[in-house]
Every structure is written in structure tokens, then in C-alpha cells.
Subunit: 152 residues, 4 copies
């Protein structure tokens, strides 16, 4: 998918990075923002036993945390300066056990609308230099302007 | 919804509790197992700033972590003794900002099949004694028997 | 689920019935509107071989057609007089083969918002007087006001 | 996405075409099978007023009918000779009003497993020679072997 998007806010990189930094969950889990381009971000997440399920794989919800932030910031990169972003809904398919040394998560806008933006994100497990697709998300993100308590 | 289910394993309570205890992510986030009955579980999750998104609400992915475990253990409670459970896919709708003192998460089997079990879970924020529905999940869980590396 | 909703338009019944009548797909497939109450509708669909898949069950997409209309009109019943409704997204779980003499489809609002309304609908197959749940949908519906080409 | 798949049944083209022909819903709606390759199919659907919703767009459920068959046959093309295919669940995002002269629907396998296959499909509206993405589906398809009443 190579869709060209033009961000409404020319300072979209700073805006995305600043908001990402305010997501305490990212810092706690160790998820980092690696790349930002219009309508697309790449995140990195380490494998951490503290966030595993009963078989030692990363918990699906923790993967979802990274996938959701990837969708949210891909969408946010295209939104106007004064907008905030909220996740409305998402669907995750778990394609393979989430084990590996680390995970690369890519988020990409599929359709940007005035109110709603539909995004897709993928999580790849990296193990001994090989990448394997382990989960896929499709989500709907909402542009929020002027709602009390929801600033950028 | 009041569907009566009969668990295949009479020791379903012990089995569910034991597997839940092995989910490191539950301990790390502070999610606890409060109730177990056939095809149904109730979890509790504290509000914790360490797991918030940019507006101070609990991150959607952290809510999903609790919702997914609720679905998984509701399903697991009905499975045969030798079975393990894996999440195949889920869909989450975020209905209101996830803020509150704590969260109550209920998981319920909708349809139990031999291979696949469909569950629904709800997350309620509790604030000053009032419960508010903040998120809903529908998910598909798989019964795994005899697969290498996937024990109970 | 017994949530009490107050429709914004007191003529919600007429409004829903009139819009439903303009859905040509309903007439073509034979889906009828049986009940309307605030935030809830009930539809009926006959079994028709013309809409089956390769095993003689009703095609999942045809079930979705009824489930989506049920969600849409449950949402529409609560919307203001000048609003139109559009489906944004939905998720369907197919729980059992869709065979039977006819199908009853119930749609129910879970959360009504100013812009977005989340609904759930269920399809039951009726066979020899017995009802069986065969499919479940969760969907997001949007309130559209003043958009060109999208009238009621 | 360019994933290389090897079908388990060398007569996958005949198998897919034959099963598609038995889907009465395809014939009734006028959906045709245009291309088959390993893990991928392309369908065509005419615009037909008989299947519209209240604004004259193709009903989301009718689009879902084509999207679901595209997912199902993309998956089926990779399955063993003796297998049948059933849809387990899917999620649809409606990205733009479904209006146009006709629709092209592509289905593609994302991950093929022994029991479950995850697919994605897209619907494009064609109008005055231009293609526009109007809907996207992610779905899970099941390989069924030896279940009574579910032949190929």
C-alpha cells in the first residue's frame, strides 16, 4: 500500500512525538517511536517477560497497546493542529505466537476523513534477524476538536 | 444474557485460577481474578497512571489486555482438562473515556464449540461508587490440544 | 440488556419505517420491519434459496445485510429529526449454520453518542418453532447532518 | 502485499470455480468470479438498484456478501482437496459511499493455517473508468474436513 497523504499540520512530526511522549503506557512498557511520516509511523517494543500470557508469549492486549498507538499516531500525523485523537474501535487478528527478541509495529492510514480515519497496523516479531508477522489491526480513529478534557 | 454452560472439566475453577496466575501480564498490571463460574469470569483492574494514554485515560490496549483475559478464561472454564486456550481475534469498541478509581471486567461465553468459542467481555469504570460501561469486546478463542509449546 | 433510551425525535417510529421502506435491498430480499422501540428494532427474514452459499445455508453477507439494517435502524430511532444514518464499520461472528424456515433479527443500541452510536444485533434461525442464535454483529453507526447527497 | 502461496490441491482453480457456482447468492446478485490464483481471487459486482440502502448506495451487507465470498475463495484456493470452507467471523470498514457503475472485489490470504486462514478483501467502486476503495474486510475462514452436511 503506497498512499500519499498530505498532513494538515506542517509540524506533524513534533506534534506526534510530543503526544507519544505523554502516553505513560508507552514508557512503562518500553515502546518507542522510531519513524514518523505522513499517515505512517513505526514503533519498537522489546520482549519483556513481565507482559506475557500463560505460555510465555507477549499478551495479545500488550501487542494491541502497541498496534493501537501505531494506528492512533498514523492518523494523528494527518490531523489539523488543534485536533486531538481518540480510538473508537479496533479489531485484532493474532496470526502467530508473539515470541521474539523484539517487535516492530507499523501503523498506516488507509482512509483519512474529516471526522474518522481508518488505519491498519501490523506487528512483526524479530528473532535472530528474521521478521515474522504476528498480529494485524484495523482501527477507526476520531478527530476531536474542542472537547473538554480531551486536549492534544 | 443468561446461558447455562456445563464445564467439561469439573476442576475448572482450579484450572482457570492456575493458568491466570501464570499470566505475568496480569500481575504486572495488577489485574485480579475475582469470580469464576461456568463460562463466565469477573476481573478487577486498578487505575494506574503508568498505563495511561496522552489524556490520562487508561490506554485502550491495557483495557484490551483485561478484556482479552476475561474472554479467554470464560472460554477456558468450559474446555476439557487437557486443553489450552489461545486468542484468535477480537474486536473492541471504546464507548467512553477509561477513567475511574478501578475497573470491573466481566467475560462471558456466547457460543462454545469444539474448536472455537466466541465470548464477549465488558469493562466498567467505577468512580465514586458508580459503574459506567467504557469498553466492549467480542472475541474468538481456540481450544488447543496437543500442540508443541502450548501447554496449559 | 435493558437500557432505557429516549428518542430525540418523537416521530421516531414513522421516521424509521419510512427510511426502512426506502431500502430497496430489504424489499428485494424480503426483510421486514416487525417492531420499533427507542433504541431497538426487530426484523424478519425468510429463508430463500436464492441467497444461499455453497452448502445451502443463507450467505453470511445476506445475514449481515439484515444485521446491519437492524443496527442502523436501532441507532436511527434515537437520532434527531434532521439526521441521516450511515454504517461506519461492523464485525460479525457466525455462530452456527444459517438454516431454518425464517430468521428473526434484533438490533439494540449499546451506547448512543452525538456523532457515533454503537449497536449490537443478533440473528436467530427459527426451525420447527425453535429459535437458535446463528450470528452476532457489533457495529458503529454515524449521525449525519447536512451532508450533501445523504438525506434521510 | 505480495505473499507467495502454494495451494495444497493442484486443481484449485476448478475447485474454486465449481464451489463459487454453487453459491446461489452470487448468481442472484450477479457477482462473478474473474480471477483465481493461489491465495487470491478477484470478483466483479454490478451496481443494481434492487440492492441499495436508503440513499441509493449499495447496501453494506451486499458489499459484505461479495467481500466475504472473496475472502472465502481466496482461502479455499489453498485448502486440501477434501476440505470445505466456512466463514467464522469478519470485520468490515465502510470507507466511502458504495456508488458506481460496478464494483471490483479482491480477496487475498494474509495467513494460511491448518485450521484457520485469515484473509483481507477490498471493494473498489468503478465510475467513469476510475477506481475508488469503498470498503475493506478482514475475516477468518475455517477449513472443514469430514463434518456432516458440510461438503465442498
Amino acid at each position: 500500500m503506497t498512499i500519499e497523504f498530505v498532513p494538515e499540520d506542517e509540524n506533524y512530526r513534533e506534534k506526534v512525538a510530543k503526544s507519544f511522549d505523554r502516553q505513560r503506557a508507552m514508557k512503562t512498557i518500553g515502546i518507542t517511536l522510531e519513524e514518523i511520516s505522513p499517515g505512517r509511523v513505526v514503533l519498537n517494543m522489546p520482549y519483556n517477560e513481565a507482559y506475557t500470557q500463560q505460555h510465555g508469549f507477549v499478551h495479545a492486549g500488550i501487542l494491541s497497546t502497541a498496534l493501537d498507538s501505531a494506528c492512533g499516531y498514523a492518523a494523528f500525523s494527518l490531523m489539523p493542529e488543534e485536533a486531538a485523537v481518540l480510538s473508537i474501535e479496533y479489531k485484532v487478528n493474532l496470526l502467530a505466537p508473539a515470541k521474539g527478541e523484539k517487535f516492530i509495529i507499523t501503523g498506516q492510514v488507509l482512509k483519512a476523513g474529516r471526522t474518522l480515519t481508518v488505519c491498519q497496523s501490523e506487528a512483526y516479531a524479530v528473532s535472530e534477524g528474521k521478521k515474522k508477522l504476528v498480529a494485524q489491526m484495523t482501527g477507526t480513529m476520531m478527530t476531536i476538536i474542542g472537547r473538554k478534557g480531551i486536549n492534544q
